[in-house]
Symmetry: C2
Subunit: 176 residues, 2 copies
DNA sequence: TCGCCTTATGCAACCACTTGCATATCCGAA
DNA sequence: TTCGGATATGCAAGTGGTTGCATAAGGCGA
């Protein structure tokens, strides 16, 4: 389970409040490890109880805003986890199940759904490419930057592969 | 949630018992939607309660073996689901989080874990390629076969991408 | 025939995630 | 000045997935 360490990583990159983290997840790390704001708040409470992060109330902000910062023990935990045993990814790909099902029964409106999915992946690809142009106009010099770019490029490769796959599936379903 | 429909699809392809389904998942559909035998048995009980599958006891077998078969109502449900709204995949990729973390702290033994992961993906690729040679020596003629091959080839493309990515990450972590 | 191994099925507890809703606080507009 | 909207945090119930263990039945060797 990676959520606590995804949050620790995000806080190591930059301190922030729960809602800021939720927005950061939507734009950055969350592209690889999604989390709702409820998950993030609950996990922040646990991280604080473990003394891996500390929080200070932010005055003059709406709600009861608290700013979280990673503590040395949290950085140490993140380091331990980074080198710990890494399980192969648990694949849960509904699209593949659908297509296997479409081989057994009438696919119905599946082509319409594939079209919607294709649009989603094209939009996601455009997002990644915009981030790449904005954040990495030149090859980064630091190891941190190189690793961030590597991960971003994997996202781009994934979306491209997905787009090609949706197109192939649509071609197959449309031409009997 | 796709597990009930993954099971219905598998039973539509061929009837079988819970343990046979569990083995089939390990080799086939489970490459895209993993499930333990406990999940499968629980789900089979629900599918039976919904009258989407029926079971008959198998005599002369160890345990209390029961053979499941999809019913017309189950096939109808599978058809409904095939055309239903399809959500974009929920990505949860621990490897990407690790690499972002490795940009913030000392990566420790991460290269060793990446080596193990690389071996896993190479083995998985070899498995897929063996299945492809065995099951699809010639291009399939049926729509069912074409869809199965499409899904299999996506698995192959995924493993290749993953192998290239692990190699790139290793090169980056080893050459500072 | 007794005990053990294997196959097959299943229960129960736990944990993470999802969803819907509730509360707190600030700010600006009526 | 108070009321509604936006921001921020949080609770609680329901669901799916994981893990450890339990039970049932056939087969086989001592």
């Amino acid at each position: 389970m990676s959520l606590p360490h995804a949050i620790l990583t995000s806080l190591a990159e930059r301190p922030g409040s729960g809602s800021e983290l939720a927005r950061r997840f939507d734009r950055s790390i969350g592209h690889f490890w999604q989390a709702t704001h409820q998950q993030i708040y609950r996990e922040l409470a646990r991280l604080e109880a473990s003394a891996w992060v500390e929080a200070t109330a932010v005055e003059g902000a709406p709600g009861r805003k608290r700013r979280y910062r990673i503590l040395p023990a949290g950085r140490q935990e993140l380091e331990r986890w980074t080198g710990a045993a890494l399980a192969p990814p648990a694949i849960r790909d509904e699209l593949m199940v659908r297509l296997r099902a479409a081989g057994e029964v009438d696919p119905g409106d599946l082509t319409h759904e594939l079209d919607r999915l294709l649009n989603h992946h094209r939009a996601q690809l455009a997002t990644y490419e915009a981030v790449r142009e904005r954040d990495f106009p030149h090859p980064p010099a630091s190891r941190t930057g190189l690793l961030q770019l590597l991960v971003l490029d994997e996202g781009i490769a994934f979306e491209r592969q997905r787009i090609a796959f949706c197109e192939a599936a649509l071609a197959l379903l449309r031409n009997p």
